[in-house]
């Protein structure tokens, strides 16, 4: 099968990104690793559709990608300002 090398490579990628997500050291490293894991999971689901021959997997990949971007932006907005509803600081107060 021509899909097996790419699937194995993506599994290795997932494992390495998971190691970075556990090691940190800052929260933003973990958020970055989580975002990379989401993207790789989308690609893995798209590959699984062709590997197993079942047409449902690209729909799952699309839904997973939409959830991933929403989750990443929400987490980063929360940890930037400490509050989901608060507007960003005015320009002269930044830094």
């Amino acid at each position: 099968m021509i899909y097996v090398p790419a699937i194995l490579a993506l599994l290795v990628t997932l494992a390495l990104a998971l190691v970075r997500a556990f090691r940190g050291p800052t929260l933003f490293d973990r958020a970055l690793a989580g975002n990379a894991i989401g993207t790789v999971s989308m690609l893995l689901l798209a590959l699984l559709e062709f590997f197993t021959g079942r047409p449902e997997y690209t729909d799952l990949a699309l839904v997973y990608g939409l959830l991933n971007i929403g989750g990443t932006i929400a987490v980063l907005k929360f940890f930037r300002s400490g509050d989901l509803g608060k507007p960003a600081l005015p320009a002269q107060e930044r830094r």
Partner: protein, 115 residues
């Protein structure tokens, strides 16, 4: 093996290789900004090559349209997430590791470091 299958296997192999390269960079780079740089390899060329290989394999079908939607989603969402991540990290006081200490303030002031 037809020509389309050969093109698919080459594109999938190259995409998987670039994904592993990006993950190794994510693991080995020294700070969060360089790690974001390494992770963007996964989201640009790794995802692009794998989706292109699958689209060649599927031909003109509904699956290719869905793969195109995934490609659009990745190519709009991942720069947005990268920008939000770098901005959030900077505003929470995380600074890039520099080869020379103080190089950032010199760059901000526009001062020649040789003087």
């Amino acid at each position: 093996m037809t020509l389309a299958q050969a093109a698919t296997s080459v594109l999938l192999g190259a995409g998987g290789l670039f994904c592993v390269i990006g993950a190794v960079g994510l693991l080995r780079m020294p700070d969060v900004y360089t790690r974001a740089h390494a992770a963007s390899v996964i989201e640009t060329i790794g995802a692009g090559l794998i989706l292109a290989g699958l689209a060649i394999d599927a031909g003109f079908t509904l699956a290719t349209a869905k793969l195109g939607a995934m490609a659009l989603l990745i190519f709009f969402a991942s720069p947005t997430a990268g920008h939000a991540l770098a901005k959030a990290a900077y505003e929470r006081g995380i600074r890039a590791k520099l080869a020379r200490p103080g190089a950032e303030s010199e760059a901000v002031r526009g001062k020649d470091p040789a003087q």
